[in-house]
């Protein structure tokens, strides 16, 4: 049997050679979020600047540390000094940063986010002491943003694959027992106990048995799985390997969302490197255990994140959900026993094996053990990915980690898990985050997306957005979902147009319950959540649309009117040419032709005299 210790020693040597501080090292965060923020351009600028100055430095990439609001992030580690993170570093700041830092003159404190070492000054705190980090318990994220995700040595040097070696020294039943003792529940949305699933799959008769990793993270606003896959892919692969060993499987699939090309690229690199190291393939660590993984790419279908639809998709069928009996642990992919887990669930497995199930279960809540990753987005000061123990309040995540509302605004609520997750009003932010509490509140932990919305948001518009998303993504097989989501949108459309009829809110509520109860799969069962949440928590705002034909947030365009106040208008001539539909006319006095107006708000933005007035309500309609 091949010795894992020698694999580890080799990796540590490679890691140390790179980080021994013999020359400056520059590390640039390079995940989808960073690239969208301009990290590729920053990387080019860094390389150019180093060449121009003739500086010999090592340039590495890393994944996302979670501080998406500070992207692009550039870390600098000078010989004999701690690594310091700087951000956001756009191309124009590169010469300044490299000039100051590499000359050893100073630390460019005004650009610093934090240091990996002890606090250096008021403007360079310890990175994990800044508010976004302080309230986190970073386990799954421990290596994200620290290591190069395309270099397996980094992962191994920091403890990676030791759990696999440990698991393979245990009988498979004992591995399953540890996972059961950890009481970990699936992170994909259904919250099914993972250990139980593994046990059932091991007990099921049939060959081959399949391990499937669900990386079809489709909930808008959720990007935790992507962060893990792009920043620490081996963590997920190691979890899959341990599952395969425990269940007795020799072949697996990872189904990665089509919209995640970088995650697929990084995972495929991870597969190749693991195979080269003898950690994957025919004889894992020189033993009889073999495991092969194939990557399958989705192609833009939300419903494929549902487990049975995902299997249909792998089999080359339309990605439609199928009947859940027999269960997939008995007859799943190609009617063979299949154990499917989510990316985040697999990422937890090495922790469970390394520290033991009981130790794992001591974090979090009784029925929701461990930590949970959240992607924070929307109307919040700091966006990004954070990890907290179950039982942490929404308040902590949104106010302390996320930094609360944007300047001058007030947070109204949050959509956990995107359009499927319902809404939780700000008055309930003291709720602890765990599977059961959020379910009771008509919401869910879901995939971990937290979309915060503030007082500029119209709840009817948000419900309509959610319902329309579900309608578009419905596979059209079962009628409650197909017709139901269409009707949901129709009700919400009517409300946002001021065409709601008496009794519509009751009808909408009833329809929501029917769609929820009678739809075949999770898509339909969660499709009405935002609408039902709006009725439950924001009833008066919904009623304003129905009774007063008024949108209090002035978002629903048919209920909003743009008007030019002649007393304020100076005829400066900015608005008319800016209007994309030529709706602004007049010479001595400007006015807006309501039929041509698409409510884009451009005139409102370009007007310097505050002469464009936005109004909503019956009274306004009478005026025009």
């Amino acid at each position: 049997m091949m010795d894992f210790d020698s694999v580890q020693a080799e990796a540590k040597k490679a890691w140390e050679a790179q980080t021994d501080g013999s020359r400056p090292r520059i590390i640039i965060g390079m995940a989808t979020c960073s690239i969208s923020a301009g990290a590729k351009e920053t990387l080019q600028a860094v390389k150019k600047e180093l060449t121009r100055k003739g500086i010999d430095a090592e340039v590495n990439i890393t994944g996302c540390i979670g501080l998406c609001y500070q992207e692009p992030l550039v870390d600098v580690a000078l010989p004999g000094r701690h690594r310091i993170s700087y951000g956001p570093i756009t191309t124009d700041l590169v010469p300044q940063l490299l000039g100051d830092v590499l000359s050893g003159k100073e630390t460019a404190a005004e650009l610093a986010v934090g240091t990996f070492g002890p606090r250096e000054s008021a403007s360079i705190p310890h990175l994990f002491d800044i508010p976004f980090m302080r309230f986190q318990t970073r386990r799954l994220l421990a290596r994200c943003g620290l290591i190069d995700p395309e270099n397996i040595d980094h992962y191994i040097a920091l403890g990676g694959y030791s759990a696999l070696a440990k698991a393979m020294s245990m009988p498979p039943e004992q591995v399953i027992d540890e996972v059961k003792r950890s009481q970990i529940r699936g992170r994909g949305g259904a919250a099914y106990p993972a250990g139980l699933k593994w046990e059932q799959c091991r007990a099921a008769k049939g060959y081959p048995k399949y391990i499937v990793c669900n990386a079809d993270e489709g909930d808008p606003g959720s990007f935790v799985d992507r962060t893990v896959l792009e920043s620490d892919p081996h963590e997920v692969l190691e979890g899959m390997l341990i599952a395969a060993y425990a269940i007795g499987s020799d072949s697996g699939y990872i189904y990665i969302r089509g919209e995640y090309p970088l995650a697929a690229h990084r995972f495929s690199t991870a597969l190749r490197q693991a195979e080269e190291k003898g950690l994957l393939g025919a004889n894992v660590l020189g033993s009889d255990f073999q495991f092969h993984v194939e990557i399958r790419r989705g192609a833009g279908s939300y419903v494929c994140g549902e487990s049975s639809a995902l299997m249909s998709s792998i089999e080359g069928l339309r990605g439609m959900p199928r009947l859940k009996r027999p269960r997939s642990v008995e007859k799943g992919l190609w009617a063979k026993p299949t154990s499917m887990n989510n990316v985040e669930t697999f990422a937890n497995v090495p922790l469970i094996i390394n520290n033991g199930g009981d130790e794992y279960a001591s974090t979090g809540m009784e029925r929701s053990t461990g930590t949970k990753l959240f992607s924070l987005s929307g109307h919040v000061l700091r966006t990004g990915v954070a990890e907290v123990p179950f039982g942490t309040s929404l308040q902590t995540v949104i106010e302390d980690i996320g930094g609360g509302p944007l300047p001058g605004r007030k947070i109204k609520g949050v959509m956990p898990g995107g359009p499927a997750g319902g809404v939780i009003p700000a008055t309930m932010f003291d709720l602890p985050i765990d599977f059961d509490t959020l379910a009771k509140a008509g919401s869910m932990v879901g995939s971990g997306g937290l979309v915060v919305f503030d007082d500029r948001t119209c709840i009817v518009d948000l419900a309509r957005y959610s319902a329309a998303f579900m309608r578009d993504e419905c596979c059209d097989r079962c009628s409650t979902c197909r017709t139901g989501t269409q009707k949901l949108v129709a009700f919400l459309d009517a409300l946002s147009c001021g065409d709601g009829k008496p009794g519509d809110l009751e009808r909408l509520g009833n329809l929501g319950e029917v769609v929820k109860r009678l739809s075949h799969c999770g898509l339909g069962q969660t499709a009405p959540n935002t609408a039902l949440g709006a009725l439950a928590h924001f009833r008066s705002e919904v009623e304003a649309h129905l009774l007063d034909k008024r949108c209090p947030a002035k978002v629903c365009s048919p209920l909003v009117q743009y008007r030019i106040d002649p007393l304020r208008c100076t005829l400066c001539g900015l608005c008319a040419p800016a209007c994309p539909t030529q709706a602004i006319i007049g010479n001595g006095k400007l006015s807006i032709i309501d039929e041509n107006c698409i409510r884009c708000g451009i005139c409102y933005v370009v007007c310097r005299d505050e002469a464009v007035v936005v109004e909503s309500g019956v009274a306004v309609r009478a005026l025009v």
């Binding site: 959720s222 080359g316 979309v451 948001t457 800016a578």
Partner: protein
């Protein structure tokens, strides 16, 4: 046309990877390609077409020269993406999912990028536009004309 034949075994499970490959190589999946894939996998053309049209990322027609990608994530929606996409539709005279008749612009929705603090977020080919306002759209489009 047969570059994918040797790469994937002739079984139903190869269908989606083959369609991906064809689109990567040719930009879309043509009628001829559908027929060839059906022959190779022993399926009917309608079975292949059924799968092809189920997935929103797979295309049956080529894209325009410039592709404008609108983030449909909730953070962008909350920041007024609706207005931006209505302005784009009004100026280009097409709906999202369509290509202008001269083949110069296509409008597409893309899912949340996670760049939510840059919302609303727009891509024109590979150029990123962050915190876009509806009033900037005209100027942005002019750069590509």
């Amino acid at each position: 046309m047969s570059y994918w034949l040797t790469k994937y075994p002739p079984e139903r499970g190869s269908l989606l990877p083959i369609l991906h490959e064809i689109q990567t190589q040719e930009g879309y999946v043509s009628k001829e390609a559908v027929a060839a894939v059906a022959r190779y996998l022993g399926l009917s053309a309608s079975q292949v077409y059924g799968v092809l049209t189920f997935y929103s990322q797979l295309r049956t027609a080529p894209l325009g020269k410039k592709v404008i990608r609108i983030c449909e994530g909730p953070a962008c929606h909350l920041e007024g993406m609706d207005k931006i996409h209505h302005v784009l539709e009004a100026i280009l005279g097409i709906d999202v999912g369509e290509t202008t008749s001269d083949g110069s612009f296509s409008l597409e929705f893309v899912p949340c990028n996670g760049t939510c603090n840059h919302a609303p977020f727009l891509l024109v080919n590979d150029d990123a536009y962050r915190r876009v306002q509806a009033s900037q759209i005209k100027g942005i489009l002019e750069k590509y004309e």
